[in-house]
């Protein structure tokens, strides 16, 4: 019998009532008395020198309060970068200033130049048209390899070149890897592009700044995945506002996918302008603005070489990657192609020698940062594609080649040659499960049936690993993070026994309000309806590093478990006192405390009431009240893994791909709410399949974004998606966090692109087309071109 509450049950998501009935409280729903509206004037050229800005006519227009330019921010700091990467030669990365509003130069289409604040949005827009801006256009640097060529135009004059860093990992292995590749029995090489994508959460970014003169207090309402991080970055580095004078609220947030992690100029702008004008200031992004101002994702160009011995055992991997940073360093940009990517190049396999080289490059494009999976999809894509190619070259079944090189269950904990230690896993188990669910054995019959209809059927397999639950602070500190990556939780038990949990994790669609309550409900035995999950407000939650890197349940959930354990310990003391028993004999079950071996018991509510009405209370031993906090800093990353299988048909006449079905067999360790986990995988798959087949963020040579709206940027839609068979019955619990959980948010986006592309290539090969690779998105036009030359 499946449980109907607690860990392992699938209650419906409690937050959906408000999301589905229009009663959510999103940032744009927040309107403050006296509110004004900001309109950002953005560069329409990719690179240029600002000669002059004349706002006099605009400032004289009706309703206009002020037109801001960079001159108004002379005292402010630049938008900070949260991660410093050290290059192959021990030098720090090149880090340009990222001003709130362009200073002297514009560096990408969408770079903000000036902001009009007016009584109404229409007045602000009208006035924006009257601001005269004179820009001399400069040559745009778009192609990464051209950007680092000798004599290339520089994106930042004060840097020595457009190379942010040249990173080598593991640098000491460089020569040994070269040697292993030279002496290998077989080397498979593949060059590929990991296409740039735009996250496009359903809710665009919004920021509302408010200022209270009496207390010199600032409030920023913003669409963020991590309000405390914004408070820290903006308060400490940009506007010099101490934490106790700055409140950041991220209320209901309609999806983030990474793009809402970062501190953006618009947040600093509205916070600052609210003080200057002594009026609340609101900015709401349009979809068109989102395309040119939200951080983009991916954008790697890679060459990978896989070396094998005569027994088809992997001996070495060497990769050479160009990673686009865009025009400025977004908050976590430098970490994505390095520590979130290089450390995953072992995949699920025993590969003794690995060398990853990454050149991060500045271009006149929108900054690029983490997007669902961040670095790990890029690693998985190249590895799982090159293995497929190797299998074909060797005449082997791609599943067998993988199995032959899998890390075996008895080898855990397993130290990879790329600095991480996998705690648990069983890759043959997930592979077996996926093959079973997808009926891999029955493929040939299905293919023959497709062939009879004139369609080319293909099947593609990929096995991924990711590092989630980001991350041990001491480790990331050594790697260049300028922050700790713990999480905090406070559990407040009220007098009547109801519970408020304050978590530093932020839910922007993941359903934490449901799952987190399930965990506490399981631990204490009170009904989940008695438990509220509070998040997203720095004035309520003591501290939080937020939600990204599939870290919420693994890190935030662990902090909550620790705090709840403290609550239980204290409550047991109170219960022991009430029942005049020894604390060691107290048991908590189904919301009641009992004395072992007796029929004495006292209800949860009696204990909580005693804590707040301490008439009969061990005051000499413990304080009244029942509220506990905990910080949890993980000992290691978590390592979800899984086998993905994609089956599809290609229409040989048009190149159109019909996704038939997709199987995901994931090992997420223990699962709190299977329904929510399935939903997370569905969403990840939609984004992975979208990246593989549809999404293309394309700049022309002048730096104009050609795919700047949904008319040209193919967002996947429900009817583009295949049947998804999602299984998470293979579970090797994480060994180092209290719930044994690994995280499931990014898996779908990580494992699916290579499975899809492998399936397309498989279909073409089976039909006699010797096509080795098609770059994503594998559009009908690209498939047709690959087939017909």
């Amino acid at each position: 019998m499946p449980k109907d509450s607690g860990i392992g049950a699938s209650p419906k998501r409690r937050e959906d009532i408000r999301f589905l009935t229009g009663t959510g409280n999103y940032t744009d729903d927040i309107n403050i008395n006296g509110q004004t509206y900001a309109w950002f004037i953005r560069s329409d050229v990719a690179h240029g020198t600002i000669n002059s800005i004349d706002a006099s006519a605009a400032e004289a227009m009706e309703g206009v309060l002020k037109v801001f330019t960079s001159a108004d921010f002379a005292e402010a700091g630049g938008i900070p970068c949260g991660w410093e990467v050290t290059d192959r030669h021990g030098q720090p990365m090149q880090e340009p200033k990222h001003p709130i509003l362009a200073e002297g130069k514009v560096r990408h289409v969408g770079d903000p130049i000036a902001v009009v604040v007016a009584e109404t949005l229409e007045q602000a827009r009208d006035a924006a048209e009257a601001v005269e801006i004179d820009i001399d256009e400069l040559e745009a640097v778009i192609d990464m390899k051209a950007a680092v060529a000798e004599g290339a135009t520089k994106v930042h004059d004060d840097l020595t070149s457009n190379l942010c860093y040249d990173w080598g990992f593991v640098e000491e292995n460089r020569e040994a890897v070269d040697e292993a590749i030279k002496s290998a029995a077989h080397v498979t090489t593949l060059e590929l592009v990991n296409n740039r994508v735009v996250a496009n959460p359903m809710e665009p970014r919004v920021a509302v700044g408010d200022y209270n003169r009496a207390g010199d207090e600032h409030t920023l309402y913003t669409t963020s995945q991590n309000p405390h991080v914004i408070r820290l970055l903006m308060g400490a580095f940009v506007l010099s506002i101490p934490e106790h004078k700055l409140r950041v609220v991220a209320p209901d947030v309609g999806g983030g996918f990474g793009a809402k992690i970062y501190h953006y100029a618009e947040e600093a702008f509205v916070t600052y302008a609210a003080k200057v004008l002594n009026r609340p200031v609101k900015w709401t992004s349009s979809r068109s603005e989102a395309f040119i101002s939200d951080a983009h994702g991916r954008d790697h160009v890679t060459k990978i070489e896989l070396a094998m011995d005569e027994n088809h055992k992997f001996t070495a991997v060497r990769t050479d990657t160009y990673a686009n940073m865009g025009a400025y360093l977004s908050t976590f940009a430098p970490s994505v192609p390095t520590w979130l990517h290089g450390t995953l190049m072992a995949g699920n396999y025993i590969t003794p020698l690995i060398y990853v080289n990454v050149k991060a490059v500045f271009t006149n494009t929108v900054p690029v940062d983490a997007y669902r999976g961040a670095g790990r999809p890029e690693a998985t894509f190249q590895l799982e594609r090159v293995i497929d190619k190797a299998a074909r070259e060797l005449g082997m079944d791609p599943v067998e080649l993988r199995r032959k090189n899998f890390i075996q269950p008895d080898q855990f904990p397993y130290d990879t040659p790329v600095a991480v230690t996998y705690d648990t896993g069983n890759y043959d188990a997930t592979m077996d499960k996926a093959l079973e669910v997808a009926d891999y054995a029955g493929f040939e019959a299905r293919r023959a049936e497709s062939e009879a209809r004139g369609k080319l059927r293909g099947i593609g397999v990929a096995h991924y690993i990711e590092a989630c639950g980001i991350a041990p602070s001491n480790l990331v500190g050594q790697l260049g993070a300028r922050a700790g990556l713990y999480e905090s939780a406070t559990v407040r038990v009220n007098a009547t026994g109801s519970i408020s949990v304050f978590t530093g994790s932020h839910s922007h669609g993941q359903g934490h309000e449901t799952t987190f309550a399930q965990v506490v409900s399981e631990m204490i035995g009170v009904d989940a309806s008695q438990i509220d999950i509070v998040h997203g407000d720095t004035s309520k939650v003591p501290m939080g590093m937020g939600t990204y890197g599939s870290r919420s349940i693994a890190v935030g959930g662990s902090a909550m478990v620790r705090a709840t354990e403290k609550i239980i310990n204290k409550a047991k003391k109170i219960a022991a006192h009430l029942m005049e028993a020894s604390e060691a004999d107290i048991e908590l079950k189904d919301g009641a405390f009992s004395v072992a071996g007796t029929d004495k018991s006292v209800a949860w509510g009696d204990v909580t009431l005693a804590a707040y009405v301490p008439h009969n209370y061990p005051l000499e031993d413990i304080e009244p009240g029942l509220e506990e906090s905990a910080f949890y800093d993980p000992a290691n990353f978590t390592y979800p893994s899984g086998a993905y299988i994609c089956e599809l048909e290609v229409d040989p006449e048009t190149g159109v791909i019909d996704m038939l079905n997709f199987t995901a067999a994931d090992d997420f360790g223990n699962v709190i709410n299977p329904m929510i986990v399935e939903g997370q995988v569905h969403g990840g798959l939609a984004q992975g399949i979208g990246q593989a087949l549809m999404e293309a963020c394309i700049y022309d040579e002048n730096g104009q974004l050609l795919s700047g709206s949904f008319m040209d940027y193919t967002m996947p839609r429900a009817d583009d998606m295949p049947m998804m068979n999602v299984d998470h019955s293979c579970q090797t619990p994480c060994t180092h966090n209290p719930l044994g959980v690994k995280g499931c948010g990014e898996a779908g986006a990580i494992g699916s692109p290579p499975a899809v592309v492998n399936a397309v290539i498989d279909a073409l090969h089976r039909a006699g087309h010797k096509v080795e690779h098609i770059d994503m998105p594998v559009s009908p036009a690209r498939v047709w071109k690959a087939m017909h030359g």
Partner: protein, 262 residues
């Protein structure tokens, strides 16, 4: 969006008179015009709504002709023309999404003449007659290149009359993002011969593929087209497909249309 006046006349004469005003522009379903205004790329001073004009909304059939009022929505054509001219109804039912189909009108689509729009291929492929407040224009004379038509500035498409063919089909290859036609082909078989109109593909907008018409008029079978290739040089090349790909799709979609028309 800039401020504008809004008028909703009830007769063609009133509408025509309103359009004489400085900066006045006709408004059908607004599915093209309103987004343009929101982006501040268009700034009409007066919008003259046509959806309340008597006689401009609705569908009538008889004498081998289906006549669609100029302000009739795509959704209405999709449902109400289904028995009289199934291929036309099917085309209307594939335009955009339900919201677009419930607002967008045939007159707006033909007046706009987007090179990737669907209706122009039905009008040209059927040899339709486009009636305005001033005259009747044969489809062959009406379409004059991308976003160009024979209409005068203030002319109103009041109705469109489609001769109903013996057999017809519209085959649309979707541009994956917008789901307009990357290439769409309308094939119509009349007693006097076959017409083939292609949208989405050419830099000159909708056009007739005369070689295919000749081949199909001799023998109405997809195989009759096997040796035909259309020149790609005048085709559109963009993010979603090269000239060569579009030229290839014209052949594929035409053959599929012939097969579907039966």
């Amino acid at each position: 969006m800039y401020n504008f006046e809004f008028v909703k006349p009830s007769t063609v004469e009133e509408a025509a008179a309103a359009l004489q005003g400085e900066g006045a522009q006709a408004l059908g379903g607004g599915q093209t015009l309103l987004p343009t205004m929101k982006q501040r790329l268009a700034s009409p001073e007066t919008l003259v709504s046509l959806t309340g004009v008597e006689g401009m909304v609705g569908i009538s059939a008889g004498d081998g002709t289906v006549t669609v009022g100029g302000a009739t929505t795509h959704a209405q054509v999709a449902s109400e023309a289904a028995s009289a001219y199934p291929a036309l109804a099917a085309l209307a039912g594939q335009i955009g999404d339900p919201a677009v189909r419930n607002r967008g009108t045939i007159g707006g689509s033909l007046a706009n003449n987007d090179p990737a729009a669907c209706y122009p291929s039905a009008a040209l492929g059927s040899g339709a007659s486009i009636s305005t407040n001033k005259r009747n224009i044969a489809a062959d004379d009406y379409f004059q290149g991308m976003f160009e038509t024979a209409l005068d500035e203030d002319e109103i498409v009041t109705s469109v009359s489609f001769p109903v063919p013996e057999a017809a089909s519209y085959q649309k290859f979707l541009q994956p993002a917008s789901r307009f036609a990357l290439t769409g082909v309308f094939v119509a078989k009349f007693p006097g011969g076959v017409r083939v109109a292609v949208t989405g593909a050419s830099n000159n907008g909708v056009f007739r593929w005369t070689e295919a018409e000749e081949a199909l008029s001799k023998e109405f079978r997809a195989d009759a087209l096997m040796d035909l290739r259309i020149n790609h040089l005048n085709m559109i090349s963009d993010l979603h497909g090269s000239q060569e790909y579009r030229a290839h799709l014209v052949g594929v979609m035409t053959r599929r249309a012939v097969d579907a028309a039966g």
